[in-house]
């Protein structure tokens, strides 16, 4: 139980935050929680199986788009879960061709796919005569916040459970050597597909939450490749072999972003780029890896 204590404490703190009424602080925490959820879900395929995705934003965007399209028709507590279903189905549907590709080609494929979907949505919106869409009467910040907390916790739990499951072990085997894994009987395709589908689910709802929070929707924003880049960098900085990694990575980036986004947004991204390079080259196991090494040495 001692290992779980920091998590439970953290959960308690996060849960109580909206009661302080500090709108701006709640907003920042909300952002942090969404990044945690996104990075945890990214880990399922990209961290465990090593199929690094640079296009995670596509699920986020599609979920957001779904919620926006059904705004006014469906209440949010129906459209958000449905968004999860939509993204899950989408991921499974494209998994057959997409997961055939591996290694670095997978990385750029996911990027290209996200951009492709972005431009299609832009064309659809343009055809419908819509540019940006306004969402009036969105749920309160506290409601959205608690939903985000729920999703972040859920995503963390899923990652935790999968890590210790057979699926997780199989995925890690795939990461080490896919052919060998197949040879020893790991159902490679099935595992990859499940991981891909699962990784797409929660981002769908997160996309919806963000759309509701901003109360303004524009395809370029919700499919912004910087989101994918941030998730990837977050995971690499935090280290993606452990549920703590995405949390640490997301926390680090959110802090950095808070200092810089309003006055020096480019500086923030430059730092992110530098950090990505540094961590890939020197600290491939992220902060978590560093902590584990320290613990092992102690």
């Amino acid at each position: 139980m001692t290992k779980a204590t920091p998590f439970l404490l953290g959960l308690l703190c996060f849960g109580l935050l909206p009661l302080t009424g500090q709108d701006y602080l709640i907003g920042v925490s909300f952002t942090l929680l969404t990044w945690i959820a996104l990075t945890q879900s990214w880990t399922l395929l990209s961290g465990f199986a090593g199929y690094i995705s640079l296009g995670h934003v596509v699920f986020f965007g599609l979920g957001g788009y779904f919620v926006v399209l059904t705004w006014g028709i469906l209440p949010y507590w129906i459209s958000l879960p449905l968004a999860c279903l939509v993204t899950f189905v989408f991921a499974i549907a494209i998994s057959i061709p997409v997961l055939r590709v591996s290694g670095p080609y997978f990385v750029i494929l996911t990027f290209g796919l996200a951009e492709f979907v972005k431009y299609v949505v832009m064309a659809v919106e343009s055809h419908l005569g819509q540019f940006g869409r306004l969402l009036l009467g969105v749920p309160s910040l506290a409601t959205l916040y608690w939903l985000a907390l729920f999703l972040a916790t859920l995503a963390t739990l899923i990652t935790f459970v999968i890590r210790r499951s057979r699926l997780g072990q199989g995925l890690i085997a795939i990461r080490e050597n896919e052919q060998a894994a197949e040879a020893i009987g790991v159902p490679v395709t099935r595992y990859k597909t499940i991981a891909y589908g699962l990784s797409a689910t929660i981002p769908g709802a997160i996309g919806g939450l963000i759309a509701l929070r901003t109360s303004y929707f524009e395809p370029q924003q919700i499919f912004d490749p910087v989101v994918s880049f941030t998730v990837l960098t977050s995971a690499i900085i935090g280290g993606s072999d452990d549920v703590r990694g995405p949390i640490l990575g997301a926390a680090f980036l959110t802090l950095l972003s808070e200092l810089l986004w309003a006055r020096a947004p480019q500086l923030y991204l430059i730092l992110l780029g530098i950090l990505l390079i540094v961590f890939v080259v020197i600290l491939p196991n992220g902060i978590c890896g560093l902590l584990r090494r320290r613990a092992a040495q102690a």
């Binding site: 709108d23 701006y24 907003g27 343009s126 005569g129 540019f131 940006g132 306004l134 969402l135 009036l136 969105v138 901003t214 109360s215 303004y216 524009e218 924003q221 986004w261 309003a262 006055r263 947004p265």
Partner: protein, 398 residues
């Protein structure tokens, strides 16, 4: 004993004492500055268009501060701006306005640039009940949404604009039209109203096409227009496209007597770049310093030119300045109470450099939709007749 240390300490204490008394009295006399926040596209896709608005804001702030400050229900307070760059990104504008309200806790807000940004921040304003006078924007959509915290100074709501434009075109004997425009919101909205309006006026639409917002080369599109041989061209453009269109239409030699560009020609750089070749281009606008009905117009023009050494943008600078004038008048009467401000803005008739302004709902009902034409490298109001300063002329060859 009077040693060095005690002398120094005594002097120090003495100075500290005098200083605090003085500053106390000084501070006690001056009311704290009033903080007005906004974001504007200082960089990015729209950056070339926004200086017009930013200049208007800074000009207004300095003018007001010279007179002692903004009159808030009787007390004068100096204006202090809290400005951010939203990088031509509406979603950033949303975040920034929320930050301005919840984190920077500003007293008042001014509007960003462009229809899309105005549109985007509406939910935030509604959520916090923070009234803002819009400037460089107009959209039929917001009229439908019935919002309580934004008003649009620009009369050029696209349905009214299109009807007037079609009428003007008809009077100019346009019979075959080419309509091209960006896929950005304002362009699309204009197109949705303009095409039916033109057809209703008996004008045949020969070309009706869209182009992406970051288009770099219009030659293919313009060749098609030239081949269709229209006598009226409507370019539903944003600033960058206006410049591109003008340059390439000139290159290809599109010599149509009636050419209307939505946004761009009113920017001073436009006439500077193209000189006399753009005489005859018509654009959106309803202001001229030559209009003697509006006593504030010419003094504003003169003071602006004296400070910036160039003319104001006849559309954006004017709209932005008008929004400031309205805010000034409203705050003088209602103070900073948001509910009272809303009431005053909804009911009062304001006096601006463009004449009287009164709102009905979110719209400015008093200023008419107008069109400006470049004649002899100067702008003249050529429509409607009530406020025109010169008759419309056909465009000669490039």
């Amino acid at each position: 004993m009077l040693d060095r240390r005690s002398v120094v300490s005594a002097l120090f204490l003495g100075f500290a004492g005098i200083f605090s008394i003085l500053s106390g009295t000084v501070l006690a006399q001056e009311a704290p500055p009033i903080r007005i926040g906004f974001s504007i596209a200082k960089t990015g896709l729209f950056a070339s268009a926004t200086p017009a608005q930013l200049n208007a804001y800074h000009f207004w702030r300095d003018q007001v501060n010279e007179k002692g400050g903004l009159d808030i229900g009787g007390v004068k307070r100096k204006i202090e701006f809290v400005e951010y760059d939203d990088q031509s990104n509406a979603a950033s504008a949303v975040k920034i306005y929320e930050k301005l309200i919840t984190n920077d806790k500003v007293d008042l807000l001014l509007s960003p640039w462009g229809t899309v940004s105005h549109f985007a921040i509406v939910p935030v304003l509604e959520r916090f009940g923070f009234p803002v006078i819009g400037s460089t924007a107009s959209s039929v959509h917001v009229r439908e949404l019935n919002v309580k915290n934004m008003w649009f100074v620009s009369p050029s709501t696209h349905d009214k604009l299109s009807i007037q434009l079609a009428q003007m075109a008809k009077e100019q004997k346009v019979s075959r039209a080419a309509v091209i425009g960006s896929v950005l919101p304002q362009s699309k909205e204009i197109r949705n109203f303009l095409v039916p309006a033109l057809e209703a006026a008996g004008i045949k639409i020969a070309v009706n096409e869209e182009y992406p917002p970051d288009i770099k080369d219009m030659t293919a599109l313009l060749s098609r227009i030239k081949a269709a041989n229209p006598d009226g061209i409507f370019v539903l453009s944003y600033p960058a496209d206006s410049f591109l269109y003008t340059r390439q239409a000139k290159e290809i030699g599109i010599n149509t007597p009636f050419q209307w560009l939505a946004i761009g020609p009113t920017i001073p750089a436009y006439r500077k770049m193209f000189g006399s070749s753009v005489n005859g281009i018509i654009s959106m606008g309803h202001w001229s310093p030559a209009q003697s009905h509006w006593p504030r117009a010419k003094p504003f023009y003169d003071a602006y030119v004296a400070r910036f050494k160039e003319e104001p943008d006849y559309l954006d600078t004017v709209l932005a300045y008008m929004s400031c004038e309205i805010l000034e008048e409203a705050v003088a009467e209602a103070g900073l109470d948001k509910a009272k401000l809303r009431e005053v803005i909804n009911n009062k008739t304001f006096d601006t450099i463009n004449g009287p302004v009164k709102f009905k709902g979110v719209e400015n009902m008093t200023t008419p939709v107008g069109f400006l034409q470049i004649q002899n490298e100067q702008f003249h109001i050529v429509w409607p007749a009530e406020i025109s300063t010169a008759p419309i002329q056909p465009k000669l060859n490039w």
